[in-house]
Amino acid sequence: MDKLRVKIDGRTILAAPGKTILEVAAENGIHIPTLCHLDGLRDVGACRLCIVDLYGQLVTSCTTKVADGMEIGTQTETVRAYRRTILELLFAEGNHVCSFCVSNGGCELQDLACELDMHSVRVPYTYRRERVDATHPRFLIDRDRCVLCGRCVRVCQEVEGAHTWGFAERGATARVITDLAVPWGTAESCTSCGKCVEVCPTGAIARKGASNAEMRKHPDLVAELTERRARG
């Protein structure tokens, strides 16, 4: 099939049709920050951090397919400012105190803050002080550290096929739940496969027993798994 010609940050790039902007950028060594995206999972465009400038419009690069002649800006001033504001909003709605977190040093949210030069949060921190659900024998979830990226929900649905994780409620009270909002340990559908732990970008879903800064995750596991499977 004919290659498409696109321009990313001024560079002319030949791209295969059907690929997303994010994929084409990555193939060409252009880094775009992401959070809810994960190779191997369906993209939903929820976190909005991978926004890029497309003719003055902001679109999520993980869900927008390249088209011939596209001119894309991944690092314009607006894009960077908006990403930073979105990140601030993410930090403000959770309890993201790195020094007390199992994922300190291995957290995608923390990495994003460094990458996007986020030095302070201009709005007050508000989080709901949810109880930690440690009813599962091996894992736990601290919902105050959840960024609602939905990776756990998708991996559980699309890869494990268990459909244990889901969303409940809406707006500021939206949260992830197991089965019909029962304690994780009592969720009958859960196979305890641990994929949700590996894909969770923060310290929200963690292995029991991990102490501060001890949790290291392997989200690329999903891509390995899905590549080996023939996807229908």
Partner: protein
């Protein structure tokens, strides 16, 4: 026997909730009783439109529309109208402009400018009768489409018609149909979005309730055009009546073969299912709606793919709104050219709007695109009730924006409203009057969208909560100016980076109020005040908030209600040292905001003040003691209300204050302009004398020409309050004959020089209070005929309605829509030539601009013309001191400190605001005194003590029952015009106490345990506005 009368009883949602079904049952009973059941048919219909006036009953063939019909009225309607042919006049509509009743529906202004296409059957047929629908031409379009047109042909017609999506976004409907039609899929779906969720919107509900078949037919035609077999109507569970009627309509349509297999004996088969949604606002977004239809969590997803490619069950799906489908059959039946001939270049056809808020005729209206906003609000909506001013209209609900008064001439279309930062949206129009706080309004919508956000994407989920938090702080008076920048940044981030339409439009109410009403945000932040008296944390009570001098009305009224006039007087003097004057001539802004009006009428605050002031005068009360002299001197130029107030409060703060007055009398306009029948001069003198006794020196006949001289003389600061004394003139002829004077000179002549004389005929030009004063004074001087010529409509006169009414009682004739063009006469004036005006487009003030009509010019014979068309400041003194003076002689000052651009020189009153009211000048004078104290090293604190709520010692509950407002004695008009004696009497002491007890004590806030210590009615009244 053939029917003789068709009686249509509205059973739309609004009429049903005001008991229209009881009216219908009573009709049935009465018709039986009068043996009329055979001749008179009762038909239940959908919404007729003017919901404000329900229950509505429309009688054909005459087309008589009855409003507010109660079951008790039915007997009279049957025996008088149905039997004897006498229309029951008391139940008819009344014209808002002329004093006449209107019998026929089509002559009611509410209907006159409407054009009903979508709503053609609404309120005209029985929605549960498919036969009536067929009788009105129904299913003809479907028959025509499937038997004589190709699907491509139908799509082409839709494209040519120019119809655009009525759900809000305005996407061209034909193009959308074409997308779906071109998809190669054996199965396709047609969906009707009836998930109407905007606050204030009820268009879709009315169509589904009033004419369900029109939606079914539209969907069937759409299905034929795009090649679909299945249809779904997604309607919210909150619309049970719509669901019921739609369900019965679907059954009837199936029975007659308009749905099902082989429709009209063609190969086309199609059926529709109803899906009831749980009422999440986000499910109005098409991808969320489809998710919900499929039984999943109602959250939007990224587009593309669009539903036209992959929608319901991944099938190509056509999704349109109720109103869009309701247009379809008319386009097919009457042709695209007909439809395209209605509306504007880019927005064709009509639009249904749900009018609500502060408008006389709330209800459902349908107008051609291109109708102006002003026509919608005034001609159809009947304008703003209760004598309030229009502030803005809000369109598009939580996704929309506000349009302020200067844009009333804007024709309604998708493009024009978008340009103004608002949207057509689904058609909710909320009319907002002066009592609306725009910050609070924006807060309300953000609260709505924040709680309706699906929570999927970050900007919308988290950002809206932050915006709400900032708006909350601003409305509590805890905002900072930096908050506005952050608010805007968040708004733009959410708008541009959210996943779906909800987030992308949710910041609009904030952005548009920031665009047009930024000053109101700043008032909340900088001055901690809410100008509309809505944000409860920022004021004591609405009366106090609306008083330019911020007099603690609830406190002094409470003292009066306890019979303690002296304490009341002391409270008043803390903020306003001219109670005698204000008790007579104040505009009483407080009364316009008085919550008692929600029970019957406002408390008579001004008359109460007068009783209190007269008591203080008669008992020679002095008011609070001034502080010890601090040895510093301040000069005040001008002895009008601003100067007197500033001088008094400076003296209270311990300054030696000297007032310089150019004229031989003190008081400014109060002495030279306000006639004595409104303000007796002994009252004026008493208020001024009290200020002198408090330590203010007034130097009469002492014009100030150089401010630097004063400063060099040892005055630490100067307050300039020289007023706006220069009369504006009109070009009526050059040279002007004798007998043409300005209102300023005429009134000054009477009160200062004692020189004014009038002839038998006097014409006064103008519409403000000084025009009314001149006219009433002329009557008192012996003029036989006094005519006021005003170029606009009488309702637009700026003079107070009370003054206008009293002038008319005294025989003054008001000739409105009359604009003087020149005088007749050589040596002495003989007449005034006037052009007759007609109401033109709206001007920036929201009034209709007068334009010359085709009526001939008239000449008013007169020997005297008084020109009272406004006054202006000169700004000379300040200009001389090197201070920049703006247009109209006005001096720009800081609204809080009244400081000019030059340190140490302050200004206020009419000199900075242009002609305004006494109480506004008093407020400015007091603010200046505080700022001058700070400037000279003081702390600027006039009242060191905390405010205390005044306890009352009587049964308050007894006074929350409905009780008429007390009216003071008034001299008869015949007596009044014989002298300049005061017109208005005062309350007897007991009467004043009784009247004061009508106060609902809005100042009493909730106590810590959550119980409001105010009376229950007060709480209820307060709750409705806050």
């Amino acid at each position: 026997m053939a029917g003789r009368l068709d009686v249509l009883v509205c059973s739309g949602g609004a009429c049903m909730s005001s008991h229209s079904l009881e009216v219908k049952e009573e009709l049935v009973r009465q018709l039986e009783a009068h043996h009329l059941a055979d001749e008179v048919r009762i038909v239940e219909t959908g919404c007729m439109g003017p919901c404000q006036y329900g229950p509505l009953v429309l009688v054909y063939p005459e087309g008589v529309l009855y409003k507010n019909v109660a079951a008790a009225d039915v007997a009279e309607i049957v025996s008088e109208h149905f039997l004897k042919g006498r229309v029951v006049e008391r139940l008819l509509f009344r014209s808002e402009t002329a004093d006449r009743i209107i019998q026929e529906r089509r002559s009611i202004p509410f209907f006159e400018k409407q054009m009903k296409i979508v709503l053609a059957n609404c309120g005209a047929i029985n929605p549960e009768s498919i036969e009536e629908y067929i009788g009105a031409g129904g299913y003809e379009a479907l028959g025509k489409a499937v038997t004589t047109m190709t699907p491509e042909g139908v799509v082409a017609e839709m494209k040519a018609s120019g119809l655009r999506g009525r759900g809000g976004a305005g996407f061209p409907t034909g193009t959308k149909w074409d997308f779906v039609r071109r998809e190669k899929s054996p199965k396709k779906v047609v969906v009707c979005n009836a998930d109407e969720g905007d606050p204030g919107a009820f268009m879709d509900r009315a169509v589904l309730e009033g004419d369900p078949h029109t939606v079914i037919e539209g969907m069937a035609i759409a299905a034929y055009a795009v090649g679909a077999q299945h249809g779904y109507v997604y309607v919210r569970a909150e619309y049970p009546l719509a669901i019921k009627r739609l369900r019965s309509a679907l059954e009837a349509a199936r029975k007659l073969g308009f749905l099902g297999d082989r429709i009209f004996e063609t190969a086309f088969s199609f059926d529709i299912e109803i899906r009831v949604g749980a009422g999440a606002f986000v499910c109005g977004e098409e991808t969320a709606l489809i998710a919900s239809l499929e039984g999943r969590r109602g959250v939007p997803r990224i587009r593309p793919p669009y539903p036209s490619t992959s929608g319901m069950w991944q099938l190509p799906t056509l999704l349109n709104n109720v109103e869009t489908y309701a247009n379809v059959r008319h386009i097919v039946a009457r042709g695209s050219a007909w439809f395209a001939s209605i509306g504007t270049e880019q927005s064709k056809g009509t639009k249904v709007f749900a009018l609500s808020g502060n408008v006389r005729n709330t209800g459902l209206v349908e107008v051609p695109m291109g109708t102006t906003i002003g026509e919608l609000i005034y001609d159809i909506g009947g304008g703003v009730p209760n004598g309030k001013r229009l502030k803005a209209i809000q369109t598009g609900g939580p996704s929309g924006g506000c349009i302020p008064v200067p844009y009333l001439n804007t024709p309604i279309s998708y493009e024009t409203l978008k340009e103004l930062g608002a949207i057509v949206g689904s058609g909710g129009v909320i009319v907002l009057d002066e009592d609306t706080c725009m910050v609070n309004l924006a807060r309300y919508f953000v609260e709505f969208t924040a709680s309706e956000s699906c929570g999927q994407c970050v900007p919308c989920r988290s950002g809206l909560v932050r915006m709400l938090d900032i708006l909350d702080r601003i409305t509590r008076g805890e905002g900072a100016m930096d908050d506005l920048a952050l608010l805007e940044e968040l708004a733009n981030t959410i708008k541009r980076s959210s996943l779906c339409g909800l987030g992308q439009t949710a910041p609009n109410p904030v952005l548009s109020t920031l665009q047009y009403f930024r000053d109101e945000y700043e008032e909340h932040i900088r001055h901690k005040t809410c100008p509309a008296a809505v944000c409860a944390a920022l004021f004591v009570a609405p009366c106090e908030a609306s008083c330019p001098a911020h007099v603690d009305v609830p406190a002094y009224v409470a003292h009066l209600s306890n019979g303690d006039f002296a304490k009341a007087f002391d409270i008043h003097m803390k903020t306003n040292p001219l109670p005698g004057i204000c008790g007579r001539v104040c505009y009483a802004f407080c009364e316009t905001k008085c919550q008692r009006a929600q029970i019957e009428e406002p408390v008579a605050i001004r008359d109460l003040k007068r009783s209190m002031a007269d008591y203080a005068m008669e008992h020679k009360l002095a008011g609070p003691k001034p502080r010890a002299r601090n040895g510093q001197r301040v000069a005040v130029v001008g002895s009008g209300p601003a100067g007197l107030s500033c001088g008094y409060f400076l003296a209270q703060l311990g300054y030696e204050t000297v007032l310089f007055e150019a004229l031989p009398i003190a008081g400014g306009t109060m002495a030279t302009g306000i006639p004595t029948y409104r303000l007796p001069r002994d009252i004026l003198k008493a208020d001024i004398d009290r200020i002198v006794r408090a330590g203010v020196e007034i130097k009469l006949l002492s014009p100030v020409e150089d401010l630097d001289e004063l400063l060099a003389d040892g005055y630490g600061a100067v307050f300039v309050a020289t007023g706006a004394m220069k009369a504006q003139t009109l070009a009526l002829g050059d040279p002007l004959p004798r007998g043409v004077v300005t209102g300023v000179d005429f009134l000054k002549g009477i009160h200062v020089d004692g020189t004014s004389e009038v002839g038998a005929e006097v014409v006064v030009i103008g519409g403000g209070n000084s025009a009314i004063d001149s006219a009433r004074a002329a009557r008192r001087l012996g003029a036989k005929h006094v005519t006021i010529a005003y170029r606009r409509a009488k309702a637009d006169m700026p003079a107070s309605p009370e003054e206008i009414a009293e002038a008319i009682e005294e025989g003054v004739e008001i000739l409105d829509m009359t604009s003087p063009t020149g005088v007749v006469g050589g040596g002495r004036v003989e007449g005034l030539r006037c052009a007759r005006m007609a109401a033109g487009p709206f001007d920036a003030s929201g009034r209709r601009r007068p334009v010359e009509s085709d009526q001939a010019e008239i000449v008013l014979p007169t020997s005297m013309v008084i020109v009272a068309v406004g006054q202006e400041a000169t700004g000379e003194l300040l200009r001389g001191a090197g201070i920049e003076v703006a247009k109209g002689g006005l001096v720009p000052v800081d609204p809080v400190t009244m400081s000019t651009s030059r340190p140490g020189i302050f200004a206020g009153g009419d000199a900075t605001s242009g002609p305004a009211t006494v109480v506004e000048a008093i407020g400015a004078g007091r603010r200046a005194a505080i700022a001058i104290d700070r400037f000279l090293g003081g702390n600027g604190i006039l009242e060191p003590e905390e405010r205390v709520e005044v306890a009352t010692d009587y049964d308050e509950d007894a006074y929350t029952q409905e009780r008429a407002r007390a009216v003071p004695p008034m001299a008869a008009a015949g007596t009044r015009i014989r002298s300049f004696a005061e017109v208005r009497g005062r309350f007897a002491k007991e009467q004043a106490i009784e009247e004061a007890r009508r106060c609902l004590h809005c100042d009493r806030k909730q106590t810590e345990d959550g119980v409001c210590c105010g009376s229950s009615a007060g709480e209820a009244a307060g709750a409705t506005t806050r």
